[in-house]
């Protein structure tokens, strides 16, 4: 990021700017997806208009909700483990912020260029399990505890297909760095045709499908929402939370949905760069400096498309039973992703 500035920033100034950008990178996609999909799209699916009063077409509704949440009393259940209960939402939110660090938004617009970005992102994303278990245990409520345990079981089960689906991409790109994966997609060729590069959704379609299903489960969105099943567990591990702490869970849930979509668009949809024939038309390289400005917009568009699919699925299907959920992960997704890895390895050697 330092190359964006002509002068040397002091360390604190650079850190401050990075923090501000990280806040934007977490809160803007979260707010956009909540308004577009949670408020509006689900309303349209149910033949209603959704929030219409706060701002034009209800676009300020989220601010109203945040204001309402901030006014609420910070409640602790009488028998709650207060430290654990208070810390849990921070752990969940921190995992979201740590995840955004690895994601590149342009050739120089990244928070940290990690050589093992994929490994880091997948490792950090599982920290939220700890926060959810803390919330479930600290609440001292049977609903929360059941929700927390279900969440732990589910997130651990679906972590595996998530990781295994990405392994195919890593084998094909030959690098663990997210920037390197984007480069491999932008400069790649499909059977000698390089017009659109090689977005891995084409060659790793099965991996993409498994990745998106696993993301759906990691976010405990509806077909996999056993941990927060509101009709049986009254929101599971979030039951006892109110006000600001609930807001943090809420932001964490929707921001991580957006950030997983960012990750999926980096891994499978070509990341921040435009297809080769567009860049040729504009007369710029695939990693031209322009992409520091255009890249975030491209990423945001791809993120909105992927989150649309995530919420479309979420608001269409009923939820799995607990045993179906585990069976689906262990007996369907993991074998398929293992076969996918083997096939990718064979084809990598052949071609």
């Amino acid at each position: 990021m330092t190359s964006m500035f002509a002068f040397d920033m002091p360390w604190a100034g650079e850190a401050g700017i990075r923090l501000a950008f990280a806040l934007v990178a977490v809160l803007l996609p979260a707010g956009a997806t909540v308004y577009l999909y949670l408020f509006k799209m689900v309303s349209f699916m149910q033949s209603r208009l959704g929030p219409m009063e706060a701002g034009p077409y209800g676009s300020m509704q989220l601010l109203a909700e945040v204001g309402k949440s901030l006014q609420k009393e910070d409640l602790f259940p009488a028998k709650a483990d207060r430290t654990v209960f208070a810390l849990a939402p921070y752990v969940v939110l921190v995992s979201t912020f740590l995840l955004v660090v690895a994601i590149p938004f342009g050739p120089d617009a990244y928070f940290a260029n990690l050589d093992t970005g994929v490994f880091y992102a997948l490792a950090v994303s599982s920290i939220s399990v700890i926060g959810i278990l803390m919330a479930g245990w600290g609440s001292a409520s049977k609903y929360s505890l059941l929700g927390g345990l279900r969440a732990a079981g589910q997130l651990i089960a679906y972590e595996l297909p998530l990781v295994l689906a990405v392994v195919g991409v890593v084998i094909q790109a030959g690098t663990l760095s997210l920037g390197g994966i984007i480069e491999a997609q932008a400069t790649g060729e499909i059977f000698g045709f390089g017009g659109i590069g090689n977005p891995y959704i084409l060659t790793q379609g099965i991996g993409f499908l498994i990745f998106m299903i696993a993301v759906q489960a990691e976010l405990s969105q509806t077909p996999f929402d056993m941990p927060i099943a509101e009709s049986e567990l009254v929101s599971g591990y979030m039951t006892e939370y109110s006000g600001f702490r609930f807001l943090m869970f809420f932001i964490g849930e929707f921001a991580s949905a957006a950030i997983f979509a960012f990750l999926a668009s980096v891994l499978f949809l070509g990341g921040w760069t435009l297809p080769m024939f567009v860049t040729d038309l504009l007369g710029i390289d695939w990693d031209s400096q322009w992409f520091n400005v255009v890249g975030p917009i491209v990423m945001l568009t791809k993120m909105l498309v992927l989150t649309f699919v995530i919420y479309w699925v979420r608001f269409t299907f009923p939820r799995f039973r607990e045993d179906q959920l585990q069976r689906f992960a262990w007996k369907v997704l993991i074998p398929i992703s293992l076969i996918n890895i083997a096939l990718t390895g064979v084809l990598k050697v052949v071609f």
């Binding site: 799209m41 309303s43 349209f44 699916m45 149910q46 033949s47 209603r48 208009l49 219409m52 479309w312 699925v313 608001f315 269409t316 299907f317």
Partner: protein, 166 residues
């Protein structure tokens, strides 16, 4: 139908609903700005036609929630014919319905033998204080303006109504 086509069909249904709402508008109305017409015989609030009430207390006794309060006294009304005796009538002092208790069962309207209680479709009488939900006889009388014309029953309804002993 296989598993995957079924899932895709489900996605198609919700997507069709999105496009329908976006292009043709929602089924719902934006309440404070526009209102739906009340359904026939809607149970909004109970109106009192005070002149018909004889304070016979039937509605009070039938009310499952005990939310009707009646007080009255006997008084002498002028005779019907010239030179006749003055008639003894019941004058209504108090007729309150506590809408904080009322469960809108309509038994009081059904049981009233003198056609003094009526359903009206008005529903916008919520109050910040629960005590203000107690409507006195003046307030209940004001609702009379909103009582709709009696709508005839659906065909076949009369036959069934006769079987119920009144």
């Amino acid at each position: 139908m296989g598993l995957v086509p079924g899932l895709l069909k489900g996605l198609g249904i919700t997507f069709k609903e999105i496009t329908k709402t976006v292009t043709k508008g929602a089924e719902t109305v934006q309440y404070p700005h526009e209102k739906e017409d009340p359904v026939p015989r809607a149970r909004g609030v109970i109106a009192l036609h005070e002149d018909n009430c004889t304070s016979c207390m039937l509605c009070v006794r039938e009310c499952p929630d005990w939310c009707i309060y009646i007080e009255g006294h006997k008084t002498l009304a002028p005779p019907r014919r010239a030179g006749g005796k003055p008639r003894s009538v019941n004058k209504l002092d108090r007729f309150d319905i506590d809408y904080a208790l009322c469960m809108y069962c309509g038994i009081c309207v059904e049981v009233c033998p003198f056609e003094a209680l009526f359903w009206t479709p008005e529903f916008e009488y919520s109050e910040p204080k629960i005590a203000d939900l107690l409507h006195d006889k003046t307030r209940l009388g004001q609702w009379m303006e909103t009582v709709p014309e009696f709508e005839s029953y659906e065909s076949g309804a009369e036959v069934k109504a006769k079987k119920v002993p009144r």
